[in-house]
C-alpha cells in the first residue's frame, strides 16, 4: 500500500487520537532528506501503520504487555521472540506495543524473510513502517545506526507450526546472537502468548509459492481468532564475548541457548499466568 505520505498522514489523523499523534512527533529516525530513511521508513506511514494495527491491538487481541522497561529507550538492541500464527500478527503487535509504550516512541525494525519484500503492496507498506529484508548487511547497518531490531530466531518455519506444537520452540537460529556479539548490543527476550493459537493451520499447499513464500497455508479460520495477546519482555541478555568471537560456532550456540532459555522461561511463566485463551 505505497500511498503518498500526505495521504497516509491524513488517514492516521482521522484514526489516531491527538495524544498518540503528538507522541509520534518525537519519533526518532534518520531522515535522508526527503522524509524517508535509507530503507524506506517514513513517519507518516508509521502513523498509518499504527492507525491500522491499533484496533487489532486494542479491540481484537486486547494486548496486555509486561516488562516494557526492559526495552532500551535509546541505542541499539535486538528483540528476539517466539513466532507462530500463520500471519505475522505477532510482529505487528510487538511493533505496536513498542511504538506505543516506549518514551520517546521507538520504531521496531522487524527483520523479515526474503520473500516478504517480494509481496506487492504489502512488502512496500511494511517497509515504510520499518521492516527490512533479512540480510546481514541490513541488520548491521541498522544496529550501527542505533536501531531496535525484531527477529524471530525460529524463522519462517515457525509461522506454520502445527497446533499441537504451539509454544514449543523450534530450532533456534544463531544469527541474532552473532549480530549482538559483533556489535556489543543486548538481546531482549520476548514471549508472545496468544499468537500461537490465533490461526491454526489445517494444511498447506507446498507447490503453491506465491511471491516466493515457502508454501500456501490453509488456516482453520478465515480470520484470526480474537485470542488475548500477552507480550512479555524479559531482562536484556548481555554477552561478555569479544566481537571477534562472533565467528566462533561454540560461542554462538551457547549465546543462542541463553536467549532461547530466556524466551522459554517467559513463555512458560506467561502461560501459567494466563487465565484463558480469550480472557
Amino acid at each position: 500500500m505505497p500511498v503518498p505520505p500526505e495521504i497516509a498522514w491524513r488517514i492516521a489523523e482521522r484514526v489516531l487520537p491527538a495524544a498518540e499523534r503528538q507522541r509520534l512527533a518525537d519519533l526518532v529516525f534518520r531522515d535522508e532528506g526527503h522524509g524517508y530513511d535509507a530503507f524506506g521508513l517514513h513517519p507518516a506511514h508509521v502513523a498509518l501503520g499504527l492507525a491500522l494495527t491499533a484496533p487489532l491491538y486494542d479491540a481484537w487481541f486486547r494486548v496486555i504487555s509486561r516488562g516494557i522497561e526492559h526495552v532500551p529507550s535509546s541505542g541499539a538492541a535486538i528483540l528476539a521472540a517466539n513466532h507462530a500464527g500463520t500471519l505475522p500478527l505477532d510482529a505487528m503487535m510487538i511493533w505496536t506495543d513498542v511504538l506505543r509504550r516506549t518514551t520517546p516512541p521507538r520504531v521496531l525494525r522487524p527483520v523479515a524473510d526474503h520473500f516478504v519484500p517480494n509481496l506487492p503492496w504489502i512488502g512496500t507498506f511494511f517497509t515504510r513502517g520499518g521492516m527490512v529484508g533479512g540480510s546481514r548487511g541490513n541488520a548491521r547497518a541498522l544496529l550501527e545506526a542505533g536501531n531496535l531490531l525484531l527477529v524471530f530466531p525460529e524463522g519462517t518455519p515457525a509461522i506454520g507450526k502445527p497446533f499441537s506444537e504451539r509454544y514449543h520452540l523450534l530450532e533456534w537460529r544463531v544469527g541474532h546472537v552473532e549480530l549482538a556479539i559483533r556489535h556489543g548490543v543486548p538481546v531482549v527476550p520476548v514471549a508472545v502468548v496468544g499468537s500461537e493459537e490465533q490461526m491454526p493451520q489445517v494444511g498447506r499447499i507446498p507447490f503453491l509459492r506465491p511471491f516466493g513464500a515457502p508454501y500456501l497455508p490453509i488456516p482453520l479460520t478465515p480470520v484470526p481468532l480474537p485470542v488475548r495477546y500477552h507480550i512479555h519482555y524479559g531482562a536484556p541478555v548481555r554477552f561478555d564475548s569479544r566481537p571477534d568471537q562472533a565467528d566462533d560456532p561454540g560461542v554462538l550456540s551457547e549465546a543462542a541457548s541463553r536467549v532461547r532459555s530466556a524466551v522459554e522461561d517467559l513463555l512458560q511463566a506467561g502461560l501459567r499466568m494466563r487465565q484463558g485463551l480469550f480472557a
Binding site: 505505497p2 503518498p4 505520505p5 500526505e6 497516509a8 498522514w9 499523534r21 503528538q22 509520534l24 512527533a25 518525537d26 519519533l27 526518532v28 529516525f29 534518520r30 531522515d31 535522508e32 532528506g33 526527503h34 522524509g35 524517508y36 535509507a38 530503507f39 524506506g40 517514513h42 513517519p43 507518516a44 502513523a47 535509546s74 541505542g75 520517546p104 526474503h114 520473500f115 519484500p117 517480494n118 509481496l119 506487492p120 503492496w121 504489502i122 512488502g123 512496500t124 517497509t127 527490512v132 529484508g133 533479512g134 540480510s135 546481514r136 548487511g137 541490513n138 547497518a141 545506526a145 542505533g146 516466493g212
Partner: protein, 335 residues
C-alpha cells in the same frame, strides 16, 4: 597531483571536471581526451594549461600514442578514466573495445609509464546487483551484477571495474575505483534520467524502491577528492537525494502510473523503438522493485567526501516530514 589526464572530457561530467581542474592553481596541466573536436567537446580554452586531444581510445595505438606522447610530455601523474560509451543501446565489439579494452590498455600502459602514479576509474552503481535478499545499503563488497542476462552496457561496466580492481596492490600505481550513484543529468548515461524524461512514468504496481541520485557537482567533487588522495581501493559515492522511485517521478513533474510489472517491458520496448529513447526496462527491472542505496561511509572516512548538493528537482513536492508536528533526526539524539 600536478598534471591530469581526463579521458571522458566530452561528457557533461568530464567537462565540469576539466573546468574545475583548470581553476585549481595546484594543477599545471589538464590533458583532456574526447572523440569529438575540441570546439564541440570543450567549448572553452585555457592556453598553456588545457590540452585537448581528439582520440579514439578504442584503438590500442591511439592509447599508446596518447600516453607516450602528450601525457609523457606534460608529465601527467594522474589518470581519470571512465567507460566511454554512455548509450546503453549501443552494443558490439567496437563498444566493448571502447568500454573495456581501452581501460585495460590504459591501465597496462600506465603501469609502465615514466610519470603516471595514480589511476582512477569512474565506475557506476549499476555494477551492483540488486535483489530482495541483498542489503539495501550497498557497501563496496556487495555482489556485482555479473549475470549472463545483464545487457552489454552493464557487463562492460562490470568488466572494466573488475579489470581495474584486480590490479590493486599488484600494480606500481595507486589505484582507486569510484562507483558513483546515478546522475540525473543529460549525457551522463543515466537510465533513470531517461526514464524520468517520459511524459508519463510507468512503474511496477505494488513496489516503490528507494533510489539514490547524485548531482554533477557532487560527482565531480568526489572525483577531484579521489584524484587528490593517495588512497587505494573501491569507493561508493552516493548523492544527497535518497527517496522512493515514486517521489522522484513526482518531483520530476511526471505522473507515476503503477501498472502490472509484466506490462512494463513491452511498454518501454515500444517507447524505445518509437521514440528512440535509451531507457530499457529489462535491465532495470530489479532496481524498480527492490531498494539499493550506495553506502558512502568509506568515501567519507577515507576521501572526506560528503554529498552536499542536492538535485534541483523541477517540481519540489511538499516534504511529508513537515506534515507532522516535529521532525527529529537520529543525529540529534539517539546514538
Amino acid at each position: 597531483m600536478r598534471s591530469v589526464l581526463v579521458t571522458d572530457a566530452s561528457t557533461p561530467v568530464g567537462e565540469r571536471l576539466v573546468r574545475e581542474l583548470l581553476d585549481d592553481p595546484a594543477i599545471e596541466h589538464v590533458l583532456a581526451v574526447g572523440p569529438r573536436p575540441q570546439e564541440v567537446a570543450l567549448p572553452f580554452d585555457r592556453p598553456g594549461k588545457l590540452h585537448y586531444l581528439q582520440a579514439d581510445l578504442g584503438r590500442a595505438r591511439h592509447v599508446r600514442t596518447l600516453l607516450f606522447g602528450p601525457a609523457r610530455d606534460l608529465a601527467v601523474d594522474s589518470v581519470l578514466h571512465s567507460a566511454l560509451v554512455e548509450d546503453p543501446r549501443e552494443a558490439g565489439r567496437r563498444v566493448h573495445a571502447l568500454n573495456v579494452e581501452s581501460t585495460r590498455e590504459l591501465l597496462h600502459l600506465s603501469e609502465g609509464h615514466p610519470t603516471i602514479r595514480r589511476f582512477v576509474l569512474r565506475s557506476f552503481s549499476e555494477v551492483y546487483r540488486i535483489r530482495a535478499d541483498l542489503p539495501v545499503l550497498i557497501e563496496e563488497d556487495h555482489p556485482l551484477n555479473i549475470g549472463g542476462n545483464a545487457p552489454q552496457w552493464i557487463q562492460d561496466r562490470v568488466e572494466a571495474d573488475v579489470t581495474v580492481c584486480t590490479r590493486m596492490g599488484l600494480s606500481p600505481l595507486q589505484i582507486a575505483v569510484v562507483r558513483t550513484a546515478e546522475c540525473l543529468a543529460p549525457g551522463t548515461g543515466s537510465q533513470l534520467f531517461d526514464y524520468l524524461e517520459s511524459p508519463i512514468c510507468f512503474r511496477p504496481a505494488g513496489f516503490d524502491p528507494m533510489v539514490n541520485v547524485i548531482t554533477i557537482a557532487d560527482l565531480v567533487r568526489a572525483l577531484r577528492l579521489t584524484l587528490a588522495s593517495d588512497a587505494q581501493g573501491v569507493f561508493n559515492v552516493p548523492g544527497l537525494d535518497t527517496l522512493p522511485l515514486s517521489s522522484a517521478v513526482l518531483k520530476w513533474g511526471r505522473p507515476a502510473i503503477p501498472v502490472p510489472g509484466g506490462w512494463l517491458h513491452p511498454l518501454y520496448r515500444w517507447r524505445e523503438r518509437v521514440g528512440g529513447h535509451a531507457f530499457r526496462y529489462g535491465p532495470n527491472r530489479l532496481r524498480f522493485h527492490y531498494s539499493g542505496v550506495l553506502d558512502g561511509t568509506r568515501a567519507r572516512r577515507v576521501l572526506g567526501y560528503e554529498p552536499a548538493v542536492g538535485v534541483d528537482w523541477p517540481l519540489p513536492v511538499r516534504e511529508a516530514a513537515g506534515l507532522r508536528p516535529g521532525s527529529h533526526h537520529e543525529d540529534d539524539g539517539e546514538g
